[in-house]
Amino acid sequence: MFTWDQRWEVVIGLEVHSQLQTQSKIFSGSSIAYGAEPNTQASAVDIALPGVLPVMNQEAARLAVKFGLAIGAHINQRNVFARKNYFYPDLPKGYQISQMELPIVGLGELEIDTEDGAKKIGITRAHLEEDAGKSLHEDFQGQTGIDLNRAGTPLLEIVSEPDMRSPSEAVAYLRKLHSLVRYIEICDGNMQEGSFRCDANVSVRPRGQEELGTRTELKNINSFRFVERAIEFEIERQIDILEDGGKVVQETRLYDPDKHETRSMRSKEDAHDYRYFPDPDLPPMVLEDSFIEEIRATLPELPGAKKARFESELGLSTADADVLTADRDVAEFFESTVNATKAETKIVANWMVGELFANLNKSDLEIAASPISTAQFALLLDRIADNTLSGKTAKQVFAALWEKEGEVDAIIEAKGLKQITDTGAIETIVDEVIAACPEQVQQFKDGNDKVIGFLVGQVMQKSRGKANPQMANQMLKDKMS
């Protein structure tokens, strides 16, 4: 917590540009695939040749409606494209086709978890628009290069209410939104490629004051970490100004992650007058009830509902349910495993959140790219449940599975990891340990129960992890009493 928390209240609203997962652009038949050679995916419409006209991609409308339904928003069945006029070299028409007065998605909300419990964040609107191209500032004899491949890529701009009161709430909201758009498969959420971008409106006001303070808009905060740091920096900057008796200037500021600071951006159009008006090339979009209902039928179980079900039906803790429903692929991996294994749900959760996530993180892999299939993962957990493996040997099997050395049972066989449950074999080791550790045996006999752990450890070590620890434990106690 920051020192400003006592005197100042922070008000944050986020604008998220989410690139819609279509094949083609929103108003032309060009591909939106990432990473093509410059201007090879820029058609006559995209480069705004004289005389060309936009034609709306229905899939973009479908994905926008899907989002609206997922946040329980009002869908504007009549919505209108408008032109936002400004000059910029990455904006070929000199205007961006966007939505102003009548966006496709109206008021909705998203629930986030905060330290003080669940909190609803209002979503003012979400509207369709086209992306701009890219300005490449590498030196071309002191000039800027323009690549219009991205121009016309469909975006859904999701505008929140100024409902967030701390950087961590902003991040929680952003994560939730990020998870949602991937859940409902409208956006791949790839922040490095710019498929999911965030601007933040930040202001502060003295606690208790009704009126909002002057806000600044932060741009270029395209990772969860940057969002938090940029907002933190900006809050401190604004408070410093206000505490010195100054005034915050309403402006757009760019976050520089290297220097960890925000700085004022030279404005894109010195006079901010976008001269919005309805685009005469695009009549109003009218969505039939049947169109919307068809989309509703394709909605998957949403994270909130899934989380509640994981808690109530599968008995997961809130923390586990949270982690395991944050991503749709993760949730599906979890459920497939649960359905395939005899192991307890709790064990599945522990192994996923623990071993699997740790390895995925280390290798920087998404769960979809996991080298261990749900079937093998389930089998591994089965072998723990039926006492073939101990926790320790299971980890060895896991490691082998990760390296794709084979299937679970074959690995156990090949590595000789089958747990020793034969009484005679364990008894031999137990006798050796008792003989080797007279001091600890005496302590146990004097009433120090805790020392049994050490002795079991010795048995496990001698058996190279294969002895059944419960049997070893019981046998040691029997022999020492």
């Binding site: 006559a44 480069i47 705004a48 040749l49 004289p50 005389g51 060309v52 006209l53 936009p54 034609v55 709306m56 032109r83 006029n85 000059f87 070299p89 070929p92 028409k93 000199g94 205007y95 323009i146 007058d273 001269r275 919005y276 008006f277 005469p280 090339d281 695009l282 009549p283």
Partner: protein, 494 residues
């Protein structure tokens, strides 16, 4: 000397009396010899290639009414590989890399494009004087007094009138086909909004622009329109309606036709001589069995003000793409990006275009949007409602196309508003999206042609052309050739 119609050329080609190559060569020679400045560019090679192609098709037994017929194209249409300037300096070096749908439709029907006609810059003008490529001479000018051909399709009108092409395409945002047709003694049709695709037609005011034919006769207009129209998936405002043959109803009787004369079209500002000529034309219709009644379009006086908000507003945005980045003119020297933009646009655009961009930007700017743009769009609805009301009791409306005849170059250029009054009768049909025509209806005592304006209900181009054709069957104004028409004669050759 008589006019040469598309119908006649079509018959001659069909009968093998003349080849497309011969026709095309003849017209190319006329263009070359003319001094009307009707064309901005002519691609002889391309025209002759198409003509040869058409001849080969005819030799192969293919037939289509306009297969091999040469026509002129307004320089507002992009044609792949040809210079397309839109009358502007900013597009002087622009070689279009694609073809407008209207043009490719015509090419599919075998039409041969002769060249690109002169026009007011970005179609903004009523006299062709805003063209970067110089004034166009109205072939009806008498010696010593050079008259304007009207605008913005002034080059097309002059070309057809001077018989440099048997027909031409035009575009009409506020009267740009009909007014020059009236000034040059032609038939000009502005179809219903959405009939002709706007794809590849350089935009002026997107919600008003519409392409159409400029010809000697209604029959020719029907034939040419047949090759221009059609649903186009590339234009979101294109109408998806079944194709029709506009020639089929030409000869229908118009007995019992109800003609409305909006009294607002006969008020102050109309030259009395024109009013008399229009009354005479209406009498002719009466003698053909039509019923005449006076009607009212009470909001029509608001058309001009609404238009001068809506058209510049849309234009200011449409013309933002001319920034010197991807095509077209870029200024020679500049210090930074804003300087490059500003110099490019200031040097590339002429005065009238700048004026309209400024008006449009102002009308859309914050604080004024409701008072201007939004208000104009509301008035537009009132104007459209007026038409809906009168069409309950009328089949078509008639009046003068323009309040005055062709004027001399320079006489109106100092006063934009006076110039705008040229379009006072034509603008309402654009705002309402209705089909409208100007047809030849006689001459003033000074020997200048005047136009009869006919407006029909939505999608009733066939009715419009029928009404026009029936008049032309009993009158001969349309057959009179301009004094400045080309001395050669294709008909004699054939």
């Amino acid at each position: 000397m008589t006019i040469i119609t598309l119908a006649q050329l079509s018959a001659d080609l069909d009968a093998g009396k003349v080849s497309s190559t011969e026709l095309t060569q003849e017209y190319l020679q006329r263009i070359d010899a003319s001094e009307h400045n009707a064309f901005i560019s002519v691609d002889q090679e391309l025209a002759l290639t198409r003509a040869k192609d058409a001849d080969a098709k005819r030799a192969n037994g293919e037939s289509s009414p306009l297969l091999g017929v040469p026509i002129a194209q307004k320089d507002i249409f992009c044609i792949d590989g040809t210079q397309t300037t839109c009358g502007s300096k900013i597009l002087e070096n622009f070689i279009a890399p694609y073809t407008a749908t209207v043009v490719s439709n015509m090419h599919d029907h075998g039409v041969v494009s002769l060249g690109k006609t002169n026009m007011d810059e970005f179609a903004m003008g009523s006299s062709n004087e805003t063209s970067h490529y110089g004034n166009v001479v109205n072939p009806w000018s008498s010696k010593g007094a050079t008259l304007v051909p009207g605008g913005s399709s002034g080059g097309s009108a002059a070309a057809v009138s001077a018989q440099l092409a048997p027909a031409a395409t035009g575009t009409d945002t506020g009267g740009s086909i009909r007014q020059p047709a009236a000034f040059c003694n032609l038939t000009g049709i502005k179809p219903s909004y959405g009939r002709c695709s706007r794809y590849g037609m350089i935009a002026f005011a997107s919600s008003l622009d519409q392409a159409g034919p400029m010809t000697h006769t209604a029959e020719d207009a029907a034939m040419l329109l047949n090759t221009m129209v059609g649903f186009d998936s590339k234009d979101s405002t294109s109408l998806d309606v079944p194709a029709e043959d506009y020639t089929t109803q030409l000869n229908d009787s118009i007995e019992g036709l109800n003609i409305g004369l909006p009294k607002e079209f006969f008020g102050e500002g109309l030259k009395p001589e024109i009013a008399t000529l229009i009354e005479r034309a209406v009498k002719e219709y009466e003698s053909l069995g039509a019923n005449i009644k006076e009607v009212s379009l009470p909001n029509s006086h608001l058309a001009l003000p609404s238009y001068y908000v809506i058209a510049p507003a849309e234009a200011s945005s449409n013309l933002s793409r001319f920034d010197g980045v991807r095509y077209g003119y870029r200024t020679e020297e500049y210090t930074d990006l804003v300087d490059m933009y500003t110099k490019t646009r200031s040097e590339g655009f002429g005065d009238e275009v700048k004026r309209r961009i400024m008006i449009g930007a102002y009308a859309l700017s914050s604080g004024y949007y409701d008072a201007y743009y939004s208000k104009a769009q509301k008035l537009r609805r009132l104007i459209a409602n007026d038409f809906n009301d009168v069409f309950k009791e009328c089949d078509v409306l008639m009046g003068p196309t323009t309040p005055s005849t062709a004027f001399s170059a320079g006489s109106n250029s100092d006063d934009p508003v006076a110039m705008y009054l040229n379009d006072i009768y034509t603008i309402p049909a654009n705002l309402a999206g209705l089909p409208a025509a100007s047809i030849q209806a006689g001459f003033t005592s000074a020997g200048l042609p005047i136009g009869l304006h006919i407006i029909a209900p939505y999608l009733q181009e066939s009715k419009l052309l029928n009404v026009a054709h029936q008049y032309q069957k009993v009158t001969d104004w349309h057959t009179l050739s301009a004094p400045g028409a080309s001395a050669h004669n294709v008909g004699e050759k054939a």
